[in-house]
């Protein structure tokens, strides 16, 4: 019998620690499929963040680092500069990348570091139990915004992809979602393109992935998917924010 679906080689055969219904598993799988399809497992190096995906190094079969909170783009810079023929990606959540790690992500992008960032945005701090993130929506209730995020005191969510897209060093920035099969297929295409452009030495690439957190949103996975569509996508519009290859004839 023909095998039609199996674990990507870039993922290890280990049990997952992610909560039921969490979409990190899908995103891990998409990155791993891209690594397999591009045949780059042997020279890919991943950098895990602090947050829910802190243990990403247990799942990816390539060489891995665990970075200090927010510092993954700086660590990735050190790796890429030391081993220029490697393919380096960071995998970061919204607390890690959009709060404590803003300086590192902005400057890695501004320098045009030839790395790829997978930015998982679920509008909340997951690992610590559901606190307000820079990406938490106005009015959204979290442990540290119990009356809903009040923009008068807590400010406004950051649209990271739009911000990074303004930087000349960033060559490809796209926001995708994993709320549906068509969107998952689009997400994989975006991740693949980001890796390909890194391989071509074009510059900094980032894919922001809208993701759900049923546990800390206090919703079932189905309700969480609905919440993402109704609340996150309107605030964080999907699509390509920057593509220096747009218009190039293939």
């Amino acid at each position: 019998m023909a095998i039609v679906f199996e674990r990507p080689k870039a993922l290890l055969d280990v049990p997952t620690h992610y909560c039921p219904g969490c979409t990190h598993g899908i995103i891990h799988r998409l990155v791993a499929e891209v690594i397999d399809e591009l045949g780059i497992l042997d020279k890919t190096i991943g950098v895990a963040p602090v947050g829910c995906s802190v243990l990403a190094y247990d799942y990816f079969a390539c060489d891995m680092y665990e970075a200090a909170h927010g510092r993954a783009p700086a660590v990735a810079t050190g790796i890429k500069r030391a081993v220029p023929d490697s393919i380096v990606f960071t995998y970061q959540g919204d607390g890690d990348l959009a709060a404590i790690g803003t300086a590192e992500i902005v400057h890695a992008a501004a320098r045009g570091e030839k790395i790829t960032t997978i930015f998982v945005n679920n509008a909340i701090y997951g690992m610590t139990g559901g606190q307000m993130a820079p990406t938490t929506l106005p009015g959204q209730v979290t442990e540290t915004s119990p009356y809903g995020r009040d923009v008068n005191t807590a400010g406004y969510p950051i649209r990271v992809s739009e911000m990074i897209a303004t930087l000349d060093g960033a060559v490809y920035v796209e926001r995708v979602s994993v709320d549906s099969v068509p969107n998952i297929i689009k997400a994989k295409k975006a991740i693949k393109k980001a890796f390909e452009l890194q391989m071509q030495g074009k510059g900094f690439t980032m894919v922001e992935v809208l993701s759900i957190c049923p546990t800390n949103w206090g919703l079932s996975p189905n309700e969480a998917i609905k919440w993402l569509r109704e609340n996150m996508i309107p605030y964080y519009p999907l699509g390509v924010k920057k593509d220096i290859t747009a218009g190039e004839v293939k």
Binding site: K43, D63, M64, E66, A68, R71, A76, G78, A82, H107
Partner: protein, 357 residues
């Protein structure tokens, strides 16, 4: 023998690192060490290596973490407030057991402090500026030649023990020009291959992971015990110090390191003329601390020891631990960028000796 060249301390650090095979340098401007970054910006591209000016000291030390984890020789440099910022990263580097060299050209603190020479980062360097049970080898050279020799040694020691190593100087050492020779040296150490490096599988079957996270308490404790064993090994093998004027019995022994130890030597010569015999213990490694130097000279000392420092009293605690109550321990310090003069040191020692007679 290689030719002697006249060089500024800060620039000599850069050249010594290049001689030692440093592949990457990540820096950030801060007085009084910025010449190191400027030198590396000029020289590293000439030898086909990496210079990068980071967006902050925090980023620079994490770039060091990245490059060190990939198995290349890497260095960063800064001065006191910048080292505070790097301390998070240094803790991760120690936890993940990565070799690297960190230069601290110390300035006065606390806070933004000043930019003049000081030794007020002794605690930070030797007792762990960052969090957790870790140790870092700390070298305190007192001349530009010693600086050059120790930078090269630092890379070897870092690789041998998979541990961060700090070179600690001050603005005097960084700015002074002295003749220096870059010796063609072969290490006598048996440096292990970096089979742990995460530089891509490249045919390897099992992935390498650079990490300092151990969520199970049993595993973290075991990791800490392993680190402690390594630190014990370093304490056994890597202590360095100089004994000066301690062939015969002396009235008192000065303990002092770095550029200040040179000033103390002048004071010792002045006191000699007045019939006061003074010896000097000059720690070259601040960690591991040269406790055995004190055992060695204990029987030759009449009155005790005096720790002379450019701070308000930091190393004196290690002097007391090393003397362990066997003799009195005195202290003299200036801080904030004030450098003790030989005359001041002479007066202080005459005061102690006079009081005892």
């Amino acid at each position: 023998m290689a030719k002697k060249v006249l060089m500024k301390g800060n620039e000599a650090i850069g050249e010594a690192a290049i001689h030692a095979g440093c592949q990457c340098f990540f820096g950030y401007p801060i007085t009084p060490q910025t010449e190191i970054a400027a030198y590396m910006a000029r020289r590293m591209p000439q030898v086909g290596r990496v210079f990068l000016q980071a967006e902050s000291e925090v980023a620079a030390i994490n770039m060091v973490y990245g490059a060190a984890g990939a198995g290349v020789r890497v260095m960063t440099s800064s001065s006191s407030p910048g080292i505070s910022l790097k301390s998070e990263g240094i803790s991760y580097i120690a936890g993940a057991e990565l070799p690297c060299v960190i230069v601290n050209i110390v300035r006065g603190g606390p806070g933004l402090g000043g930019i003049q020479p000081a030794q007020s980062d002794y605690f930070q360097a030797t007792k762990g500026g960052g969090h957790g049970d870790y140790r870092m080898v700390v070298y305190a050279p007192s001349s530009v030649q010693e600086l050059v020799d120790l930078v090269q040694e630092a890379f070897d020691v870092a690789d041998q023990y998979r541990n961060p190593v700090m070179i600690m100087g001050d603005g005097m050492l960084g700015q002074m020009m002295e003749p220096v020779e870059f010796k063609e040296r072969q290490t006598t150490r048996n440096l292990p291959e970096k089979t742990w490096a995460a530089n891509g599988l490249r045919g390897r079957k099992i992935h390498n992971v650079i990490n300092s996270l151990y969520l199970k308490p049993e595993e973290l404790e075991a990791h800490n015990k392993k680190l402690q064993q390594k630190y014990a090994e370093i304490e056994k093998n890597e202590v360095k110090y100089e004994l000066y004027n301690l062939e015969n019995e002396v009235d008192i022994v000065i303990v002092s390191y770095g550029t200040l130890a040179r000033i103390c030597k002048n004071a010792i010569k002045m006191l000699e003329k007045e019939g006061i015999k003074v010896g000097l213990i000059r720690p070259i490694t601040l960690w591991p601390y040269p406790k055995k130097a004190f055992d060695e000279v204990m029987d030759k000392v009449k009155l005790g020891f005096i720790s002379i420092e450019m701070n308000e009293g930091q190393m004196v605690e290690d002097v007391k631990l090393s003397v362990n109550g066997r003799k009195p321990v005195f202290f003299y310090g200036r801080s904030g960028g004030m450098v003790p003069t030989p005359a001041e040191i002479v007066n202080k020692i005459k005061e102690i000796v006079g009081g005892a007679k």
